[in-house]
C-alpha cells in the first residue's frame, strides 16, 4: 500500500516538476544564442532574407540569433537537420517553397513537411513573373502563347529543375495545354542572362531578378504567377486574368521549429517576429529582395503548408517531373 502511494506521489511530482520546468524554461527563453538554419548556400535570396530576420529577432529577443547554412540536396539536408534537432526553440529553420515541393519532387525525403515541424509564421511570399526577350517583338502573354502553341518558340528558361519557376512553366503547359521545352539553367543569374541575351525567347524568374531589365527595356513582362497583381508592376496581368483560371504559383518563405517545440516558445518567437516585421524599415529591406512581407499565425501557416503540399503533389505528378 505504502509503496503504491509512494509510486504515485513520485510520479506526480516528476510530472509537475517537468511541467513547471518547461514553463520556467519558456519564461526565460532565450537564454543563449538561437540558430536559424538556412538549407541553402549563402548568397541566395532565402539566405539574405534569413539574415534580415535574424537581425530583427536579435533585437527583439535580446539574444544573438545567428544564421547557419546547411546547403545540399535542394534544401533537404538543412530541413532534415532541423526536423531532427532538439525541440527547445534554439534551432529554427527558414524554408522556401522547397519544403512543400521536394517531398513530391524527390519521391522520398527524410522529413514530413506537415508532421516534422512546428510552423511559426509565414515570413514572405514571392511571385514569379513570365518575361520575354525584348528583341523577339512579343507584346503580350496571349501573343506569346499563340507563338508557343504554333511550335515556333517552345523554349522557356528557369533557374533549375524543381525550382518554383520551372514548376510555373510546367503549370503553364498544363493549363494552356501546349507542349513546352524546358531549358534549365544553374541558378537565377544565369537564367536571366540567358533571357536577356536571347538564347531563350522567354522564361520565368523572381520579380526582383528582372525588375531592372524590364525597366531598361531588355525584357518584356508578360504575366504574374500570383492571383493578385504585383505592386511593383501593376500593368502586368496575372495568369488567372489572361484566361488560365486558378493558376497560382507563390514562392513561400517561412520560419519553422522542430515539431514538439513547446507552444509558449513558438509564441514568443512569433510575437517577436511580428513585432519587427511591422517596422517600415524591415518591410522595405525585404521588399528590396523582391519579397512581399507577410505574417501569419502558426495555425494559418500550418494550414497553408498542408494545402501547398497537396497542390504540388498533384502538379508534379501530372507533369511527371522528378529528381532521382
Amino acid at each position: 500500500m505504502k509503496f503504491k502511494h509512494w509510486i504515485v506521489a513520485s510520479t506526480m511530482s516528476l510530472v509537475v516538476g517537468g511541467l513547471t520546468a518547461s514553463a520556467a524554461h519558456a519564461q526565460h527563453y532565450p537564454q543563449r544564442p538561437v540558430t536559424i538554419v538556412v538549407p541553402f548556400a549563402p548568397g541566395g535570396s532565402t539566405d539574405a532574407l534569413a539574415r534580415i530576420v535574424a537581425e530583427g529577432l536579435s533585437n527583439e529577443l535580446g539574444q544573438r540569433v545567428v544564421v547557419a547554412n546547411r546547403p545540399g540536396a535542394g534544401g533537404n539536408i538543412g530541413m532534415t537537420a532541423v526536423a531532427n534537432a532538439r525541440p527547445d526553440g534554439y534551432t529554427l529553420v527558414l524554408v522556401s517553397s522547397s519544403l512543400v515541393i521536394n517531398p513530391s519532387l524527390y519521391g522520398s525525403v527524410s522529413y514530413d513537411p506537415v508532421e516534422s515541424f512546428a510552423p511559426i509564421s509565414y515570413v514572405a511570399s514571392a511571385p514569379s513573373i513570365w518575361v520575354a526577350n525584348a528583341g523577339i517583338g512579343v507584346e503580350s502573354a496571349q501573343e506569346m502563347l499563340e507563338r508557343m502553341a504554333s511550335g515556333e518558340m517552345p523554349y522557356y528558361g528557369s533557374p533549375g529543375i524543381g525550382t518554383a519557376q520551372h514548376l510555373a512553366g510546367e503549370l503553364l503547359a498544363h493549363y494552356a495545354d501546349i507542349s513546352l521545352e524546358h531549358v534549365p539553367y544553374n541558378g537565377a543569374g544565369p537564367a536571366v542572362a540567358g533571357m536577356v541575351a536571347g538564347d531563350v525567347p522567354s522564361g520565368f524568374s523572381s520579380l526582383p531578378g528582372v525588375q531592372s531589365q524590364i525597366d531598361d527595356g531588355l525584357l518584356t513582362p508578360l504575366a504574374i504567377t500570383t492571383l493578385q497583381r504585383s505592386e511593383q508592376l501593376p500593368e502586368v496581368p496575372t495568369f488567372d486574368e489572361i484566361g488560365l483560371e486558378g493558376y497560382e504559383v507563390d514562392h513561400l518563405q517561412g520560419l519553422l521549429a522542430p515539431s514538439d517545440t513547446p507552444e509558449e516558445i513558438v509564441g514568443i518567437i512569433h510575437d517577436a517576429l511580428v513585432e519587427f516585421m511591422n517596422s517600415a524599415e524591415t518591410s522595405s529591406r525585404i521588399a528590396g529582395l523582391g519579397f512581399v512581407p507577410v505574417v501569419s499565425t502558426p495555425r494559418e501557416f500550418a494550414e497553408q503548408i498542408a494545402e501547398q503540399v497537396e497542390k504540388w503533389s498533384e502538379i508534379i505528378g501530372a507533369a511527371g517531373i522528378s529528381v532521382q
Binding site: A48, R70, P184, G187, Q213, D215, R285
Partner: protein
Amino acid sequence: MDNLLASLALGAGTALALSNVLYCFLGVMAGTFIGVLPGIGPLAAISMLLPITFYLEPAAAIIMLAGVYYGAEYGGSITSILLNLPGTTSSAVTCLDGYPLSQQGRASMALFMTAMASFLGSTVGILAMILFSPLLARFALDFGPWEYFSVMLLGLICAAVIASGSAIKGLMMVALGLLLGTVGTDVNSGTLRYTFGMYELFDGIDLIVLAMGLFGIAEVFFVLRHPADPKAGVARVSLREMLPHRSEMRRSPAPVLRGSILGSLVGALPGTGQTVAAYLSYALEKLVSRRPEKFGSGAIEGIMAPESANNAAAQTAFIPTLVLGIPGSATMALILGALMIHGISPGSALMNENSELFWGLIMSFWVGNVLLLVLNVPLIRIWVAMLGIRREILHVAIVCFICVGVYTVNHSPLDILFVLAFGIVGYAFKLAGFQPAPLLVGFILGPMMEEQLRRAMLLSGGDLGRFIERPISATVLAIALALTLLLMGRQLVALRSRKTNG
C-alpha cells in the same frame, strides 16, 4: 571625354569621403584575411557582413562588401606561394610557380611581385570598367551557350598546356577532374549521378573539399617523406630581397599586360570567372614563352600573369552585375542583393540616377587596391616569418586550419573525411608524378562545359553546325584547333628528337 572626367571627379568625391575610405579599408583587410584562410571564402564573409551593412549608407555598405570581394584575390595567393595551398581557387595556378620560388628562398620576392601584379591587374580592370562598360556589357550578351562552350573547350586544352612534365599524365588528370565534376545532380535533367545514395553528394563534390585535400593534405603527407630542406625556411626579408632580378624585371611587364587584358575580358562574361581567367592567362604565357620548360619551377611569368588576370577579372565581374543586373557568380548575386536591400536597382537606373554611387564605387575600387598594396607589402615580412616556424608545427597548424575551415562551410563532418580521402589520393598522385592542378581545371571547367554544350544542343535542335555559324564561337574553336595542332606538333617534334638522340 568631359563627361567622363566629370563623372570620375564625382566618383572621387564619394570614394574619398573619410567614412567611405574607412569602410573600404575594413573591407579589403577582411577580404585579404578571408583569402588567406582555407575553407571560408568571400561568399561566406559577405553573407555574414550583410546585416552589418543595414546600418550603413548604401555607398559605404557596397564599398565595404566589394572590398572583401577583390581583397580576397590578394590574400589567396599568399598561402599558395608559401605553402602550396591555394587560399582561393583562383590562386591555385599561382602555386605552380610561386611555391617553387618560395622553396628557392625567394618567397618575399614572389609575394612582392604578386602584390604588384594584382595591383596592376586591378588597375587595368578598373580602366576597362571606366572606358568600356557599355561595350563589354554588350559583348557579354553576345555570348550564348555555343560561345561559352567554345571558350571552355579552349580552357581545357590550355589545361594540357599547364601541366609540366608528361602530357599524358596531365590529360589523365584533366579527364579525372571532368569525371569528378559530373558527380551530383545533373543540371539539365535532374538525374543524380554517381552519388551512391549519399545525400551529401547531391550537389556534387565540394570544390573546397577537393582543393584542400589534393593540395593541402596531400602536401602535408608528401612532405613527411622528405626531410626539411634547409633553404626553404630561410628567407631574408630586406627590401632588396623583395626585388626581382633584372632579367625577371624585364620579363614581367608583358605577362602583366596580357594577363590583365585577358582577365578583363573573361571577367566581364557572367558565367566564367576569375579562376578561368587565371588558368587561361597562365597557359597563354607558357605558350608564348621562349622557355616554356622553366614554367613550374619558378618562372616569374607564371605568377605575374595569373595574378593580374584574376584581379582584373574580379573588377570587371562588376560590369554585368551593375550594368545589366546579371550577376556572374553567387558572390556577385549577393552583392547585387545587398544593393537591392538598400533600395538601389542596377542597370541604367544606377548609372543615370545614382551616378554618384556608381562612379563612387568604381573609384573606391582603385582606392581599395591602393590600400591593399600599401597594407600588404609591409606584411610580407610577417608572412615570410611564418616560414621560419618549425616545419612540424606549421604542418599541424595547417591541418587544423584546413579541418576547421572546411567544417565552417557546410557543418558536415563527412566533408572532413572527403578531404582526408582526397589527401591520400593526392599523395599517391604526387608520388607517381601526377600534378593536381590540371585535375582542378577539369573539375571546374567540366560541369560548366557540359551544361553549356547540352543547352546549345537543346536550343539548336541537335544541329552541330550552329557552333561554326556563330562568329565568336567559330573564332574560338578555330583557335582551339590551331592550339591542339600546335601541341601535337610539339609532341611529335619532341618524340622525333628523342628517337634520333637515344
